[in-house]
């Protein structure tokens, strides 16, 4: 299985994505931002379509648009507008633009399917390098700002910072989340973002009681699903996303049902 370069790429990409998704997903679930990841992934779809239109790698377009979206959601978050309304407006616009970019770029439907449902088996060496650089960036930011981000995610009411610092921290978190969504979309596609960003972290909450252990177990669940999914996809010639989605959902259901 590992003789083929595309499988090596896929396993490497899957491992990087699982690391990011497990760590960032733990904060996302703690902050109940699950549905925001979905909106961001719709924006990632528009970004990828925009990338295709300009002849860029899909990930670059995704990163650009989700980054801009995170900044705008972050600045609107501090106003009196309801966040779910803002988010639905932005994601509606994103999907519309995505369709426009696909039409303008005469992008083949296989490419569009790849964005929406993931195309990890077709990942190129360039994509892999971009993915690795993004992963390092996200993990570095989390390393440096771990403690304040942890407090923001797990106890916002108790967080005591200068108002400008709290605002900056919230925007930083949204940016990290946006980048992670763009990264994860590479593997499972824009439509299945929950599969890696929220389900492993949500499942881990049934077993662990410290932030570090929640992250470790979320990474383990994500890696298990990804590696098993890739292997099954290789053996059956069916899409990888299907298997990863089913595995993560089963892990979540078993965790929820067996919890005390």
């Amino acid at each position: 299985m590992f003789e083929a370069a595309f499988m090596q790429h896929a396993f490497l990409a899957g491992t990087l994505v699982s690391l990011v998704a497990g760590v960032v997903g733990t904060f996302v679930v703690a902050r109940s931002y699950n549905y925001l990841t979905h909106s961001l992934s719709e924006i990632a779809f528009a970004g990828a379509a925009f990338g295709f239109l300009l002849g860029w790698p899909a990930l670059v377009g995704m990163v650009l648009l989700t980054f801009l979206a995170a900044l705008s959601i972050g600045s609107l978050e501090n106003t009196k507008i309801r966040q779910d309304n803002v988010t639905s407006a932005i994601s509606a616009l994103a999907i519309g633009l995505g369709i426009l970019f696909l039409a303008l770029g005469h992008t083949a439907s296989t490419a569009a399917t790849g964005i929406l449902f993931g195309s990890v088996l077709g990942i190129s060496t360039t994509d892999l390098w971009v993915l690795a650089a993004m992963t390092v960036l996200v993990l570095l930011v989390l390393f440096l700002f771990y403690k304040p981000l942890r407090w923001l995610a797990f106890d916002e009411a108790g967080l005591l910072k200068r108002p400008s610092q709290t605002r900056a921290l919230k925007i930083l978190f949204l940016v990290v989340m946006a980048l992670s969504v763009a990264i994860s979309s590479q593997l499972v596609g824009s439509l299945l973002i929950f599969v890696l960003m929220t389900l492993p972290a949500a499942s881990a909450r049934y077993y662990q009681k410290t932030v570090g252990k929640l992250m470790a177990l979320a990474i383990f669940f994500a890696l298990f699903g990804t590696w098993t999914g890739l292997t099954l996809a290789y053996l059956t010639n069916l899409p990888t996303s299907v298997f990863i989605a089913v595995i993560e959902v089963v892990i979540y259901l078993v965790s929820a049902l067996t919890a005390e």
Binding site: A30, F145, K147, W151, L160, T210
Partner: protein
């Protein structure tokens, strides 16, 4: 350092209504100060203004706060029934200094100290969501203590506790305040314990504040707490 709060001609309005009119006072640590007043008298407004002045100091503002480390226990915390963290992990959120993700040996020691102060050392691994109301309240206070504050502000931390647990918690806080020399501002609705445990009071009434020794708490400042509870 000794925490000092100086307030000069502070005015608070809520919409059209003036809550506090040109109030001035000084509070200095070490002391246990209780902030009293009816609902709507401006206790929380004043406390929030003090927090803001401490976090983002402004030379010309009416409130000046001198304190190295400030900690705050809010009145409400909606953490949800599926909150995953243990009591120790929750308290450890207060250890938030430095650009490094790990916890140092000194920080771990402080965490154990803070848990022991509120009598939660043997409940460290209990999930916070599974803890009783009193245990949760003590965990909130431990999270503030782990920051080693010289100014500690608590907004009605005993509101959800019964009389017995309230008395135990306040006695413990008083002892800690005396050990560490911090300035404690304790917003309270209930005044039954004030003369026994507090040094002084700050009473908000009729758009004014009155400051005095807790032993000489005016009759009018005393809450009708027991009457409220018993619906007299």
């Amino acid at each position: 350092m000794t925490a000092v709060i100086s307030v000069a001609d502070y005015q608070a309005t809520f919409g059209q209504k003036t809550i506090l009119k040109q109030v001035s006072f000084t509070l200095k640590g070490p002391a246990f100060t209780v902030i009293l007043g009816e609902n709507g008298a401006g206790k929380t407004t004043l406390m929030k203004a003090v927090l803001k002045a401490a976090l983002a100091p402004h030379p010309g503002s009416a409130i000046q706060v001198q304190a190295d480390r400030l900690a705050y226990v809010p009145q409400f915390r909606d953490l949800g029934d599926d909150y995953p963290l243990s009591i120790a992990a929750f308290v450890g959120l207060g250890l938030n200094r430095g650009f490094r993700p790990w916890t140092t040996a000194a920080e771990k020691k402080r965490l154990r100290w803070a848990l022991a102060q509120v009598d939660l050392a043997d409940k460290a691994d209990l999930a916070l969501a599974a803890a009783s109301g009193g245990q949760k309240q003590r965990a909130y206070i431990a999270q503030a203590l782990v920051q080693q504050p010289d100014l500690l502000i608590l907004d009605e931390p005993t509101a959800s506790l019964d009389a017995k647990h309230t008395a135990v918690l306040i006695a413990r806080l008083r002892a800690l305040q005396q050990e560490t020399g911090m300035l404690v501002l304790f917003i309270s609705h209930d005044t039954s314990w004030v003369s026994q445990y507090a040094d002084n009071y700050l009473w908000l009434h009729d758009q004014q504040v009155t400051v005095g020794a807790a032993a000489a708490l005016p009759q009018a400042a005393q809450s009708k707490h027991s009457e409220e509870v018993h619906h007299v």
